[in-house]
Amino acid sequence: MARQITASKPPAPAVRSRQMNGAQTLVESLRREGVEVLFGHPGGASLPIYDALYDAQDIHHILVRHEQVAAHAAVGYARASGRVGVCTATSGPGATNLITGLTDAMMDSVPVVAITGQVPRPVIGNDAFQEADVTGITMPITKYNTLVMRAVDIPNAVRAAFHLAGTGRPGPVLVDIPRDVSQELCEPDFDEEPALPGYRPVLDGNPSQIAEAAEALSAAERPIVYAGGGILSSGATPELTALADRTGIPVALTLMGKGAMDETHPRCLGMLGMHGSAFANWAINRADVILAVGVRFDDRVTGRLKDFAPHARFIHIDIDPAEIGKNKPAHIPIVGDAKRVLAALVPLVRAPKIEAWWKQIEEWREKYPFRYRQRDGRISHQYVCDLLNRLTGGQAIVATDVGQHQMWMAQWYKCREPRTFISSGGLGAMGFGFPAALGAKFARPDKQVLALVGDGGFQMTMQDLITAVEHRLSLPIFILNNGALGMVRQWQSFFYRGRFSSSILRNPDFAKLGDAYGARGIRVERPEEVEGALRTALATEGVPCVVDILCDPEENCLPMIPSGQSVAEMILDD
């Protein structure tokens, strides 16, 4: 990903000979990275930074009410735009509140830079007020982190942070700045290139491996593409689509890969995995050659590893060499950027003879499409998801929370273009959906953005409704309210003999809550009210709209391959 310095920016002021403090140096560094928006919450150790931001008319700081929201919003911003998302927090509790969002960014390879205040240098390590070892804590959940000990080192640290976050396999980078470093005067050099001798992402695939992969695909009888988030990170949608168009090979997408290809494309089988379509799972498990691109053979896709696609030869393309062979041995490993490798691969593949294979897949698709039924007087969650797909034409940016509603939306929402499905995939962090939608809306104010959440997850971060109100965001928030932690309830129903331990929720009146925040609140209790409410919410401008939809509490999310099992054990119907 290129460093984002937009041409429309005013030319950087001549600051080389001028002294400035560390915080001003930081703000100027962010400006030079093209940062327009950052999400954060101030505190003691970051006061100098906020003082410098006060003067920065061109950098829009969005004050959130909890730092967790700042991190999730930075992820939403990054995933909707492809740019680096930025969040900031003070030392100690501010920084620890970022942890969940940074871990999400790490698991889902999202480019985020977090700037945290730290206690002043002389008291570091003395258990000072609001001190936490933030670089220590975030070591395993960041791609890189650094404690900056001199103001003059800030430009280099920021450049390195944005470069590391946005290139190779993207990820979060944290820069921790002690308060007295923010206050220290320095003469910064903004042009110094960071030296990163240990960081050299491989972008171009090995040509002979690519040729071998092309041969394997050309000769395949039952080939399939298994494509994931790496397609979106590298912008490889045109290449992936060209591969499907040129060869007719079916494409299954991971949850993270939604949007990597137009899901209404006839060659696209939609999502595979634990709650993926039966036909996509049957197809990948019967395949003889699997082209895995930008995926990591996550257990939610593979189930029991030894039974996953037992007859297949695996071609695995990934920019991260450590992903290749991590869970499943690759017969043809290719390290490189998905876009470049696919661009080299596509012209070499001859269309394989797969009419019989397609006939089989179409039979499966016909036999078990996604389907739902509306029980008497109850609102089906899936009906709402299906309707949102139809009303938006799959053209809106959707951010989901985590749980049943997330899987239903992944099943029913047919993404038409990249970066339109934002969900906490690897970490599965409840509380993600609404803040991610908030961040996405700041990234793409021109676009319809919506949040689809459950009643459980929404309550983890709903305090930031006020942030959406404050900024007059046209942001509908649809709550699929089943009065339960639905996925927990479902597992208890299937695997714990219906002992619903702590999974049934008593909820506030979300519509009234929306009203109290100054948002629009709508409560939907009957199936016939749903469509009107969705239309109203989607058309509501200048204010977030909270739509509390009271859904069928007993609806289960199917199909389901139980955790650690294989496609043979897939549960198809209630």
Partner: protein, 166 residues
């Protein structure tokens, strides 16, 4: 090293920067693998240190560890040495009980292992031995009956044989 099920050696060149040791150790720890020994020291370039890590892990996972280590920004090179002919050495200091009756006996054993006496009192003798882990283990075993008061081992250091770099 006799009690290890699988001893896999990984040699890592790192930038000599704060926190690198924690990053490397943390990366291994979080995969639930025990570090049997880890030695760190400068290389011919003072800005670069070499870590030699012996981990208790199945051979097929060693390459995955090396790959994960290479992802650390400060790691310049990480090599799994299991399939490469290499020179391994470890140094141990062993303080053993002596009596006038056992002193010569212990020195004889030390001679066989080319260990040297680096300190001597009327009750103890401190021996220095260098060699492969197995040799040090054998030496330690022989000294056990005299009563080992304390012992310090450096952990293994390794370089690939021949002109090829580690």
């Amino acid at each position: 090293m006799t009690d290890l099920q699988h001893a896999a050696t990984i040699s890592v060149l790192v930038q000599n920067a704060p926190g690198v040791l924690v990053r490397v150790a943390g990366l291994i720890r979080r995969r639930g693998v025990n570090i049997h020994s880890l030695s760190v020291g400068p290389t011919e370039d003072p800005s670069i240190s070499r870590m030699t890590i012996v981990v208790d892990t199945a051979p097929e996972r060693t390459e995955q560890f090396a790959k994960q280590l290479r992802k650390l920004v400060e790691v310049l090179r990480a090599t799994s040495l299991d399939s490469t002919p290499a020179v391994d050495r470890e140094l141990a200091l062993i303080k053993v009980n002596v009596t006038p009756g056992t002193r010569l006996e212990i020195m004889e054993i030390a001679n066989v292992f080319r260990a040297s006496v680096v300190d001597l009192t009327d009750k103890t003798m401190t021996l220095e031995v260098t060699g492969r882990g197995e040799k040090v283990d054998a030496f330690v075993t022989l000294l056990t009956k005299y009563g080992i008061r304390e012992m310090a081992r450096t952990g293994q250091v390794t370089l690939v044989r021949g002109s090829q770099n580690t």
